[in-house]
Amino acid sequence: MKKKLLSIVMATAMVACMTGCGNNTESASAEKTEAVEVSEEDGQAETEEEAPDEGNPAEQSVIEGDGEMISLKIWGSQTDQDLLKELCEEFAKEHPENSWQFDYGVVGEADAQARYIEDPAAAADVFSYPDDQLTTLVQADALYEVTRNVDEVKSANAPGTIDAASYNGVLYGYPMTADNGYYLYYDKSVLSEEDVQTLDGILAAANAAGKQVHMDISNGWYLASFFIGNGCNISLDENGKQICDFNNEKGLAAAEAVRAFCNDPAFVTGDDSVLEGGIGDNICCGVSGPWVSASIKEKLGDNFGAAKLPTFTCNGEQVQMGSFLGCKVLGVNTQTQHPVEAMELAEYLTNEKSQARRFEVLGYGPSNINVSKSDAVSADIALKALADQSQFAVSQHVNGAYWTPAEAFGAELEGHSTNDLQAMLDQLVEQATAE
């Protein structure tokens, strides 16, 4: 009897140990893959792989001034750190009425929302996030409304970016960049400017040359371009509930076009690394965003080409592909001790001068109207293609539930599934709009 009791105790202890260990490895590996994971999962294509640990020896700058010490914590991605520091110090010099202490944390835009929700009080006072995280952040009451100088902010930035940073008509952040979109990269030695006008033209030329056409259909972010192009609606209602009508007639027609594209011998899927690795070799064109611009330019050299997305054949007519256009936004944490100063800083970091500097140093497409009209920005082929595409783009008002079923839908078509499209679309919409 005693032995039995002992063995039960031992077994329980063993289970406790195992579950304990299991949890540890789980969270450790979770942290390791976090950076990779977010970029694939959210279809939101961040290429900077941030160190997931904001506890890195955090940079700090202290600028003495006249008044009381204002201490602010700022989050930005790893690549942005130097510029962030430079701009913050400039800001402090222009505001000598206070003493300033800035703490810089390395938290990339893709992780901002997750990190914020972990512990709002410990999150940064000013942090950048992609506009697709806006809904969740507003629902968690994380962001201050932009109420000071709101008209100046609204008039200085492109209307699309203001729309993207707004929820129910209220502006919740300061647009910082406007380059979270996608367009077509192509190899000029294979495709002519005329070919890239239509998807049919591209496929014909690619097949003739024995090359492939890349698009990540199994990613809801890119997949949506067909549906948006054919006039489907994906947005949020005033309660933050997802609206998605991809299963109507127009959506069905768009889905037929996607299926035809996926079944074309020239079609190839995969994430950015496939495009970056294959372009110039077996791939002649592909769809992606500004973050791969540099590496593709390097591979193609003089043959580097970028254009708006092509038109595709839908019910026998040519329809322009749509796209999502997002921006990175600077938000002010509702938990901050110094809301007014934090807002002033956020506004400064996104003003015309800062955006011009950001384009100069990091090459990010500006949301500021004046900067985007400047000669330097207009000369950038990739950003010009993005600007051309932006007139067919919609803001990314999408909740988290859309991405997984959209990926499943795209993956089935990539796998040449012959299932009934209407039934698949119904499932997609049901899951995407589920509470």
């Binding site: 063995s7 195992m18 789980e26 994971e37 539930a401 049901e430």
Partner: protein
């Protein structure tokens, strides 16, 4: 003992202060988990909406758990205190010696040494394992999800909604749960026994008398263990992509015309994870079995040979019983670990390919990776917590039930 009584009273006082100064204000909201959400107020001078602090459901739940734990501790120490006083009175009545504080302390190093030994592990176990687990179990009975995120929104008790959602109510979630549960078991069985059987065969092959350079072979097979698991898994997952190394190689040789959908076809993806898990796991089982094989007394084989047993008979009657006897507890551990095998699945396929009929999950997802996605990506903590409880139930029941039936527990003293 009188000094000990004072210590008890001081601890009681501290606990009471903690409870009334800190715990009570959370515990008083425990039944609703907070009534007032964070509010806004227009500040004309600053031109901003100032926030008024509201209730934070998560903190209320968390600190309520601590407050309740403090209450239990209070009652326990109260019992100790009363018992202590009773004993003092009793000893005094009988005119016996009342132990001094020093004697009590010395006793802790002698007859009550087990208490001293277990004090630190038990305290940490309660603080870092039991209390968080209670907290997480409680979350399963709330609606803590993406739409109810503190501090902006409150969440509250919803009873058994999540459990019902999973088992009966919500068709997609029920379908997903049972689909994933089935695959989890298929996976755990396949992953455990493929490794077990092939590891055993490999160990026996290397151990065979005719095999030369045993050490070389063992080292070769151990190389895959030397590389950190997540590195090799991520590399393989890259290599299996449509434009990855394996597909390109097969196409160059001319075996296939179009890339094989290794990770995008549900069946093929499931086969892939099992096979790759074998590649990762077999070296470990091989090492274990090598150790066991070397420990089987050689005279058993010799006498069997003299009695005319064939090689197969020797295997089924000596090697196999011996191995199963020694490795059974470890195999159960492996089985339970495989039910929760996060790394292989998550790093290789990420749970994909995703299914339109599954709720935020893919065809190779295990319960534990689904749980991970629900928490980290979807912030659906309540549902994830419900699944977590279920995983815990499966793992603990299996372990205890099977463990007690194994030969090594029943005949514990046989090999000593």
């Amino acid at each position: 003992m009188i000094f000990l009584t004072f210590i008890y009273i001081i601890v009681e006082a501290l606990l009471a202060t903690f409870f009334f100064k800190f715990g009570f204000k959370y515990l008083s909201h425990f039944h609703t988990l907070g009534e007032n959400a964070q509010g806004k107020q227009w500040n004309e001078a600053l031109q901003i909406y100032e926030r008024t602090t509201g209730d934070n459901s998560m903190l209320i739940l968390l600190f309520s758990v601590f407050a309740i734990a403090a209450c239990i501790l209070f009652i326990w120490i109260l019992v100790l205190l009363i018992r202590n006083i009773k004993q003092i009175l009793k000893l005094e009545k009988e005119g016996k010696h009342i132990p001094t504080f020093k004697e009590i302390l010395l006793e802790l190093l002698d007859s009550k040494f087990h208490i001293t030994l277990l004090a630190a592990p038990m305290t940490t176990l309660v603080l870092f394992t039991v209390l968080p687990i209670v907290f997480m179990i409680l979350i399963a009975f709330t609606n803590f999800d993406a739409n109810h995120q503190p501090p902006g929104e409150l969440f509250t008790w919803t009873g058994l909604t999540n459990v019902i959602d999973i088992f009966l109510g919500n068709s997609t979630k029920t379908h997903t749960f049972f689909g994933i549960l089935g695959w989890t078991f298929v996976w755990a069985i396949l992953a455990t026994f493929t490794n077990y059987i092939f590891g055993m065969l490999l160990a026996m092959m290397i151990n065979h008398k005719l095999v030369k350079c045993k050490k070389l072979w063992r080292t070769l097979f151990m190389i895959s263990v030397a590389i950190p698991q997540f590195v090799s898994l991520l590399l393989i997952s890259r290599a299996l992509e449509p434009a990855g190394a394996i597909n390109l190689a097969l196409m160059k040789i001319g075996l296939i015309n179009a890339p094989l959908p290794f990770l995008t076809n549900p069946t093929l993806a499931r086969v892939c994870v099992v096979v790759i898990n074998m590649w990762i796991g077999i070296p470990y089982t091989m090492m274990t079995f090598t150790g066991v094989l070397l420990n089987i007394p050689e005279d058993l084989y010799e006498s069997a040979q003299i009695d005319g047993a064939t090689a197969f008979q020797r295997f089924t009657n000596i090697t196999l019983p011996y191995m199963i006897f020694v490795t059974a507890p470890a195999t159960i551990t492996t089985f339970v670990t495989n039910i929760n095998n996060f790394n292989v699945i998550y790093l290789l396929t990420g749970g994909g390919p995703f299914g339109l009929d599954y709720y935020q999950a893919g065809k190779t997802d295990l319960l534990v990776t689904w749980l991970y996605k629900l928490t980290v990506d979807k912030h659906d903590y309540a549902l994830a917590s419900t699944i977590g409880i279920f995983i815990f139930m499966i793992a603990s029941t299996l372990s205890i039930a099977v463990y007690n039936r194994t030969g090594s527990v029943k005949k514990e003293d046989m090999f000593q």
